[in-house]
Assembly symmetry: C2
Homo-oligomer: 457 residues x 2
């Protein structure tokens, strides 16, 4: 049977830009989120230019076919999952770095550029693109923009939206709008750039981004401190943040996470270690001094052991524990990664509450996180073969979000809503806030063409 959409797209974009092979389509149904349903797409299209995206949007709009935009599908909330009968719009061919300007400290890129590709290209010019989600070797700038991706360096540099100056976006009408600007400042009109960043593909298709760069910092040095208790580690993190130092990384690992890491690979961590703090400074000649001050603060807050790296290789080794988290948890079962962020003063209450939730629902919850931002990743680990355990894990997952909200936080610090958390969104936004979201969505996309059923149910 001929597919009118496929035929039309092939006639405009060429045969090889449009895929309807069921196996290929099947392999593109999901992002990295677990426990999110994915539909069966009608076709996959890979436009190369803004003009081609316009053609795709017009065709889909006229035929009433919803569009799901996909980057590298490394997202963790199901926002890039297929919907039944949708057109998958992949940015895989929009991989051009259009410009890197040292003088203006900006890069202009297509959305399919991989974060690591951009980061390396600007580094060759002694420039720095800070946003560093852990997926950075695979994830695209377009995907980072769609989810307003965070990462390890947020604690000093901020998140993706802090580095997006302007966007080119194809709207549901097929019109192209440019938001923002290339200059450092600007207040002409509403901040549409920030509205689109983090909108998870529901408002339009980003076809170009103007990104802010910084002069490249020198390689970071690291301090790693272990504590007897969670409380000591959290208190030390708070003291570091209050000190006026601006660590370029400040990560926390709790006891269950550390035990899993030690079981996975012998890092010499003692059995009774309660928590670990990892901190970096990238202030070049000052980094060693910063790291020494952080070490002092940790010692003053009861650290059992503090290691300071004297060079980049030692720093890498100290960070190894953090890097092993996912690998270490994998053998223990299926993981359901949460992403609550709370005001830092609530971190100890959050961690105690998570321990209680784990006990109540009889599941293991490991809690690594970006402690400097109050953004934790409580990870529920359970046996996927045990249906009862899975049900309890999902209940624990929800309870963690409710706890985060009660403590004045958010259900998602950096992973997004997608489908994974869509039913919790109203709890955070309230009915008035949710209705305002719907009206904004309708202002951009009255026919609900883009990513229907994601974020807003």
């Amino acid at each position: 049977m001929r597919d009118e959409l496929v035929d039309r797209l092939r006639s405009v974009l060429g045969d090889d830009a449009v895929v309807d092979d069921p196996d290929v389509l099947d392999s593109h149904r999901n992002d990295h989120a677990k426990f999110c349903t994915a539909g069966v797409p009608r076709a996959l299209v890979r436009p190369s230019s803004t003009a081609e995206v316009v053609e795709v949007v017009r065709a889909a709009s006229e035929l009433g076919v919803p569009i799901v935009t996909q980057g590298a599908r490394t997202g963790l909330s199901g926002a890039a999952n297929a919907i039944d009968g949708c057109l998958l719009l992949s940015t895989a061919r929009m991989t051009q770095i259009l410009e890197i300007s040292a003088e203006d400290q900006v890069a202009v890129v297509q959305p399919g550029v991989v974060n690591a590709q951009l980061s390396r290209a600007v580094l060759e010019r002694d420039l720095f693109y800070p946003p560093d989600p852990s997926s950075w070797e695979m994830s695209t700038i377009g995907g980072n923009i769609a989810t307003n991706a965070g990462g390890l360096c947020c604690v000093k540099y901020g998140v993706t939206s802090d580095f997006v100056r302007g966007l080119e976006v194809v709207l549901a009408s097929g019109e192209v709008v440019r938001t923002g600007r290339r200059s450092a400042k600007g207040v002409a009109g509403y901040d549409l750039t920030r509205l689109i960043v983090g909108s998870e593909g529901t408002l339009g298709v980003v076809t170009e981004a103007t990104l802010e760069l910084r002069p490249a910092p020198e390689a970071a040095l690291t301090a790693a401190a272990t504590f007897r208790s969670i409380e000591d580690g959290i208190a030390a993190a708070a003291a570091v943040m209050a000190s006026g130092l601006r660590p370029s990384l400040l990560e926390f690992l709790d006891q269950p996470t550390l035990r899993a890491i030690q079981d996975y690979r012998d890092m010499g961590l003692p059995e009774d270690v309660g928590s670990m703090l990892l901190a970096q400074s990238d202030r070049g000649p000052r980094a060693a001094e910063d790291v020494a001050r952080i070490a002092e603060i940790c010692t003053a807050h009861g650290a059992v052991d503090v290691a300071e790296a004297s060079d980049v290789e030692e720093s890498r080794m100290l960070l190894e524990a953090r890097r092993l988290v996912n690998s270490a948890l994998e053998p223990l079962g299926t993981t359901l990664i949460d992403d609550v962020a709370v005001p830092r003063s609530q971190l100890i209450t959050l961690l105690r509450g998570i321990a209680e939730i784990g006990a109540k629902y009889d599941v293991l919850i490991c809690c690594p996180g970006h402690v400097g931002d109050g953004n934790m990743h409580p990870t529920v680990v359970f046996d996927p073969a045990d249906a009862a355990a899975e049900a309890r894990a999902l209940e624990a997952f929800g309870a963690v979000m409710q706890l985060g909200l009660r403590l004045g936080g958010t259900i998602t610090g950096e992973h997004g809503i997608g489908t994974l958390k869509a039913r919790w969104l109203e709890t955070e936004l309230g009915p008035v806030g949710l209705e305002l979201h719907r009206r904004i969505k309708a202002a951009f996309d009255p026919g609900n063409l883009f990513n229907p059923g994601k974020v807003l149910l």
Copy 2:
């Protein structure tokens, strides 16, 4: 004649919260913008709480009376100017600092809190609220939010929106919405906080703001360098920005501005000085070292004279020239202050173009500015008694904005659109962007209750 709106507001808020005295109303018609029309308001109301703002909005909405929200009316674009028959909603009684949390590094304030009041209150707790518009001794946080105010420290710390974590807003429906969050990170839903910051009172009434604070830096040290030409000064500024230093202030004064200052007060500036660069570092023990490096960079870029402050008092003296700009220009005539921002690589072209515009329209244009951000304030000075000169000045003002746009910049870096630049907005946003703005305005405020005729004509 009884006024139904006034009677209703008095019955709910009390007599002294509602003003209909024509003299008082007349004194509240304008903000600090020149050349912007202001209408005759129907009444002025000063609610004290969110609940009272809700009552005000409901009453005005039911009676079809537009609302113009006013802070300290120090804005420079006419956004706070009265409209004929409007209700002025003043935040003058909403002056409570509700909370300062050292642990979470946030402050929660009502919108009528004066910037300086907040800045001093948090400094007592060794905390720092960076946004520092030059109006900071008078302007309110609500006004700073409405205009997304910038200031001198933007070059290091960013603008107001970078420090607003969450808002409470009364919508045109009288409903109250909370946007954003108290935590450092969060991506649940669209970024309504950023959408409202800078919306110049057109989307709702901000009744509470949760603001990000930083640990207080030490007092800044200053370097001041004079150059023979504009080109040398701009090149030195670019080199400072490329160096990886993060000056906490980087200001530029061009030759016409420096001459006006020298005529106003003898600062010992030579007749043939072409430009001046002022830079600060607030990095405590490192500030002197930073200032020395900035001085070296200036010398390497042809500075005629470089002064480095060795203490805070000397720093204050060096900054005196910058502080005298407005006073020095006042005796020369009426000033029309522009606010273009361009990519830094375009600054020399901008300044040359401005000199040509001045020559073409036979007006004096002085050009001080926040050079680190590419945000300049070309100031057209003319004799207000000379109608022809005024007409030429207004043409020159428009030509400067067109030039800024041609160079990839914006018509307003930090002052906003208001009424002053509303007719230029479409040139910057394009018809598609403008239409999207209108749809967003309608999504928030379908009856056009808030600040009609401002920003969007």
